[in-house]
Symmetry: C2
Subunit: 391 residues, 2 copies
């Protein structure tokens, strides 16, 4: 009987799995492997689509074509399996999708996805270089918690992602805290999923390159309690832009987050134990929060920061920018780090901001990278920023 039931279980689940995955006819159960990463780091993508007239693969491993993602045509074999093999690829975390007769679709043989605003794309990791720090490696792992904190300033409970380092739960040590902020369209999930922040910090701590630290990843959209699908709004289509993301409200109520963290975690409760960094809109937030809360952060990171004049927005947060920057300079800080890609549409805004800082003799470390406004750059910046803080 054991064997009989077990066989029934296997048949049941295998049939469900195959039906859901590949829609194969009887006798056609060729196992499709996609993506297949070869020894030389070239990658073969495959899709079983015998009825399709044209199939291509698009992804950020291909050079972009103007505003559009690059794509390559796939070719069909006798079994109806379309495939394309890349050149050997540099180590990176890539996203991709297929296009079948003009319709974009995910790879049914790859269960790994990342959502970016309202797009969900498959992911693929090539090791052997930069992306090794994005992998889960055989190292001690911190704890990643999704919690809700009370925000009196926003009159709501809000969801937050908190990383505590290995050993946190079994020590009496107080740890420094990095507040890590997402960009427009992001939320409290973005740095952990698209940014691989928890893998990066696990790996850098294990290698002795970064200090054990707490990383706090809040939701920067104060109109939102939580990421799409994680609040009482249910499953709705995420939007790129939300109200009150760049009008001072988030910066003004950021103290709720600091108070929550300092109350609930064993933290170093002064500027020497606090860093703040963010990408794009999160860089804008980091710029404003770090000067608005005088003497609160010793380490500031602006990743492709959306530095922009905001004369049209009325908020006490945006008053006296020059005076508060001067105060920030006089109070002292240990690192003010600015990173941007040469092709970023915010490049010029960052040149102008650095000019302003230069004129004030406000010291910063400047990192200019290749590429533009991409998660690829933000992961690189984070990997470089973490070893520089709390030293």
């Amino acid at each position: 009987m054991y064997k009989k039931i077990f066989f029934a279980l296997l048949v049941l689940f295998t049939s469900i799995a195959i039906q859901a995955q590949e829609n194969l006819g009887f006798g056609q159960r060729r196992e499709i492997v996609s993506p297949e990463i070869h020894a030389d780091n070239s990658v073969t993508f495959r899709l079983l689509a015998p009825n399709a007239d044209s199939v291509s693969v698009t992804g950020d491993f291909l050079p972009p074509k103007g505003w559009a993602q690059g794509s390559e045509k796939m070719t069909k074999d006798a079994d109806g399996v379309w495939s394309f093999t890349t050149q050997p690829l540099p180590s990176e975390l890539y996203t991709y999708a297929f296009n079948v007769n003009g319709l974009q679709m995910n790879d049914p043989n790859n269960v790994y996805y990342r959502r970016d605003v309202a797009s969900t794309l498959n992911v693929l990791l090539i090791g052997g270089g930069q992306a090794d720090v994005y992998k889960v490696n055989s190292v001690s792992h911190g704890t990643v918690a999704k919690r809700w904190y009370e925000s009196p300033g926003n009159e709501m409970e809000r969801r937050i992602t908190i990383y505590t380092p290995p050993g946190y739960e079994n020590s009496n040590t107080s740890y420094p805290v990095l507040y890590l902020l997402h960009g427009m369209g992001g939320d409290e999930e973005a740095w952990a999923t698209l940014g691989r922040a928890t893998q990066i910090i696990d790996n850098l701590i294990a290698e002795g390159k970064a200090k054990p630290m707490i990383i706090v990843m809040p939701n920067g959209n104060v109109a939102q309690e939580a990421a799409p699908g994680e609040s009482n709004l249910g499953f709705y289509k995420p939007q790129f832009q939300l109200p009150h993301t760049m009008d001072g409200k988030y910066e003004e109520t950021f103290i709720d987050i600091i108070n929550f963290i300092d109350k609930n975690y064993r933290t170093i409760k002064n500027k020497s134990g606090r860093a703040i960094a963010g990408l794009s809109m999160g860089g804008y937030h980091s710029f404003h929060i770090s000067r608005y809360y005088a003497n609160t952060f010793d380490y500031i990171g602006l990743f492709s920061a959306a530095i922009m004049p905001n004369e049209n927005v009325k908020s006490k947060v945006y008053e006296n920018i020059d005076a508060t920057l001067l105060k920030q300079k006089l109070n002292g800080y240990k690192l003010y780090w600015i990173g941007i890609g040469k092709e970023d549409f915010l490049y010029k805004a960052n040149v102008e901001y650095r000019d302003k800082l230069d004129k004030m003799n406000f010291k910063y470390v400047y990192r200019e990278s290749e590429g533009g406004h991409t998660w690829r750059n933000w992961r690189i910046y984070l990997s470089e920023f973490l070893p520089m803080i709390f030293k």
Copy 2:
């Protein structure tokens, strides 16, 4: 300049989002809403696929056709948008996919997915009934943590999902613990994603129907450190069956999990504060663990349990089953709950198991439901089981 940069940001992200989502040509930017839930709980599915010859929708809201999922043909409008509208649907969490010219694909306008083994399907929630307890509602939310615990018995660190109830972090109370086990093909993610366990417990606590408790969701595949994609094995295709899932090793090393939880959390450290429940293979594990660890659990839940004789498997865990069951009876317990669907392929095995218990005068509560071996049933069983424990 503010407006200019902001406009550039919007154009950039809108173009990326649209390109990644819908592959629309210029002038065709009709916003596709899918799924659209109407006031009467009927649902319209839509897919822009002007070049397709036939499109259908398949999902568990349709009656199955034998072993296969039910499906319905969609119809095309003048803009190339295919659609299908269901009858009003009962309140439930459903999964679905599209089939375009014979090729299964996800809904590009729905970013909400659930992975089950190697299949990734879109989800859809209809409220107004049973599924209200699966929603995120405006209630206090517990914390969901992904941690790693040391398992000396398996000589590895292993990943585990832990729910702590609202208020846990700001009290000195000791809480009871439910150990909640997944089935074959599952892992430490399954109950939280497919099972909506954290939403269910949040809602039942808020309604005063369940006691505040800790819920521990371990990984029952002892050959695995963590769910696919979360270990150093990287991104690989998940398999339904893994070694050492039903050979006694998990049950034998389960003490590592209890020890970890009792050491690291404020728990009630005796049987009155411990429950164990699981689905399918997890029901099998709960059956064995609850008698193997004498006097450890006051509450036991077997959900569609894979109760099977195991004469062919050599493990001290499976020795003396009758004697240990008798001991469990004599030691006493407060609830032994057995739930199964009328159409479950394990129905007969559960009849035989209940016969055995009846002959021993071993008391249990029996719940027979409609349907079979499905997450729909396991969510229902959990919603019913939670209010019965720790009372």
